[in-house]
């Protein structure tokens, strides 16, 4: 077992199928996963396999589950600044501009206000939005808003960044570009990233390992190593072979 990095130990999660009902729906069943520091993990699965639920548990938004989640050997308690998140919807505050939205991430950090300002600027530059620092969310495109959300997720320098289908709502071109940028940011910041996606191509393009999940109950079907040099080439035969391998899992399931 790893003592630093992120460890998921026997994670199970049940929901009451209806409020007040005693019959329970098993959403996650005995999830086991060790994630090394700095690793990029992609989690793919059909909808309903519990992959987003798993991310919420790691984030600490939902604390009712069985099993343990450890970061650097310590169990998590609630949300924490060492875990950042980028949601599918950007969730920027509409009344704040780009700079202020990124600064939301640092609201409770111990940095001085000058340090906060510099860190915010630095992260806005990291996602290439230095010219839009004063813009409000409704004035920028969906792709730009998602970059702001990425900057906000990174600004605390978390040890783990969780990505919940962050590019799912974007058009194909913007999406491909942001996948490239995400990979560069990961390489530069050297932090652990966990990406939940239903896009197999994206999962293989970004992940060191691809965790394939299956529903009813949500569990890990298998874990594939993606042993390809970065940046990855989507037309490389090995890339295609891996992608088709993962896709074959889905073909069987349907």
């Amino acid at each position: 077992m790893l003592n630093n990095g992120l460890t998921l130990e026997n994670i199970s999660k049940r929901f009451a199928s209806r409020p007040g009902s005693t019959t329970q729906l098993q959403v996650l069943d005995n999830i086991q996963l060790d994630i090394a520091p700095g690793e990029f993990i992609s989690i793919v699965g059909a909808s309903g396999c519990g992959k987003s639920t798993l991310l919420r548990l790691i984030l600490g938004l939902d604390e009712e589950y069985d099993g343990r989640i450890l970061i650097n050997g310590k169990p998590i308690a609630g949300t924490g600044l060492e875990r950042g998140i980028v949601f599918q919807d950007h969730r920027l505050f509409p009344w704040l501009n780009v700079e202020q939205n990124v600064a939301v991430g640092l609201k409770n950090s111990a940095l001085s206000s000058a340090e906060k300002r510099d860190t915010v600027r630095e992260h806005i530059e990291l996602v290439g939005l230095q010219d839009f620092i004063d813009a409000y969310p409704h004035q920028i495109s969906g792709g730009m808003a998602q970059r702001v959300a990425i900057a906000r997720g990174l600004v605390n320098r978390p040890s783990v960044l969780l990505l919940d289908e962050p590019l799912g709502a974007l058009d194909a071109l913007t999406r491909a570009r942001l996948q490239g940028e995400l990979q560069n940011i990961w390489a530069k910041e050297k932090i652990t990233m966990i990406l939940v996606t239903h896009d197999v191509d994206e999962a293989v393009f970004l992940g060191d390992r691809v965790v394939v999940m299956q529903p009813n109950p949500g569990r890990i079907r298998r874990i594939l190593d993606v042993d390809l040099p970065r940046p990855r080439n989507r037309s490389d035969s090995r890339f295609i072979a891996l992608r088709d391998d993962v896709l074959s899992d889905f073909a069987e399931l349907h």
Binding site: L59, T79, W95, N108, Y136, P137, Q139
Partner: protein, 261 residues
């Protein structure tokens, strides 16, 4: 020659004037052709002369000032109390359970049903009128403030949790700004209602000065010219307050990226 008349955007803008101008023209004709012998049909010129007399008199300006002062005092008292009550109802489940049902019953009572009680408690003077106006402004502010705070998107509240916001930081940094458009709708309605209630209060709690009293004077002395003038003034003040509120609302909506209605 073509019978079709091209309508330029400029002329379209003035189309709204057609009906009032036609109405005044018919009115003028009616009073000049002697269609009615009633003394209650005054001519437009008579109204214009009265209007001029009024505008140049101190009495009229005192009345307008009295009405506006009353209106704004009631508006400020009512909205201040309304904001406090609305925030408490919207933020505290406990307070909501305790006070919510009573407030919901209270707001069903028609505003004018309060007049007898208010006149017994506060008399017919300014205190009574301002109390009545405050009540008119209070209800929409409470309802909209509370609704706004309750319907803050849960997604944004999760963001606050992720970044470890305290309860206080969440209220100040997320809930209040998210509820602001709704709170503003409450203030806007309060401004409109309190002007309507100003005239109502002056009309029903008769004493002192005010534009509502000018209206009563006119009606008691069968001076239709004065009545019509007072009506126009009441309409113009209402329109101005409305326009002022809309300008503020638009600015805020632009900031929030909401398309103006």
């Amino acid at each position: 020659m073509s019978a079709v008349i091209a309508v330029s955007p400029g002329s379209r803008r003035y189309r709204g004037w057609v009906l009032p101008i036609a109405a005044i023209a018919i009115w003028w004709l009616a009073s000049h052709q002697g269609w009615s012998q009633s003394g209650l049909l005054v001519s437009p010129e008579k109204v214009a002369v009265t209007a001029w007399e009024q505008i140049t008199s101190d009495k009229f300006w005192r009345a307008i000032c009295a009405s506006l002062t009353r209106n704004l005092s009631g508006f400020f008292i009512g909205t201040s109390l309304g904001l406090v009550l609305g925030c408490l109802l919207g933020l505290s489940r406990h307070f909501e359970r305790l006070v919510g049902p009573s407030f919901n019953t209270f707001k069903q009572i028609s505003l004018f049903a309060w007049i007898p009680l208010i006149s017994v408690w506060f008399g017919l003077g300014d205190v009574a009128k301002v109390a009545f106006l405050s009540l008119a402004a209070l209800v929409p502010v409470v309802v909209n403030t509370c609704d706004g705070l309750r319907s803050v998107p849960p997604n944004l509240l999760e963001v606050a949790r992720v970044y470890g916001f305290s309860r206080w930081q969440t209220i100040i940094g997320v809930m209040l700004p998210a509820a602001l458009p709704s709170i503003f709708t409450g203030l806007y309605l309060a401004l409109v209602y309190s002007w309507l209630a100003t005239i109502g209060a002056e009309y029903l709690l008769v004493s002192g000065e005010g534009i509502g009293n000018t209206l009563i004077d006119g009606s008691e002395h069968f001076m239709m010219d004065l009545v019509l003038f007072a009506m126009v003034v009441i309409g113009l003040v209402g329109w101005s307050l409305n326009a002022l509120a809309r300008v503020c609302e638009r600015r805020m909506q632009r900031l929030y990226g909401i398309a103006p209605r």
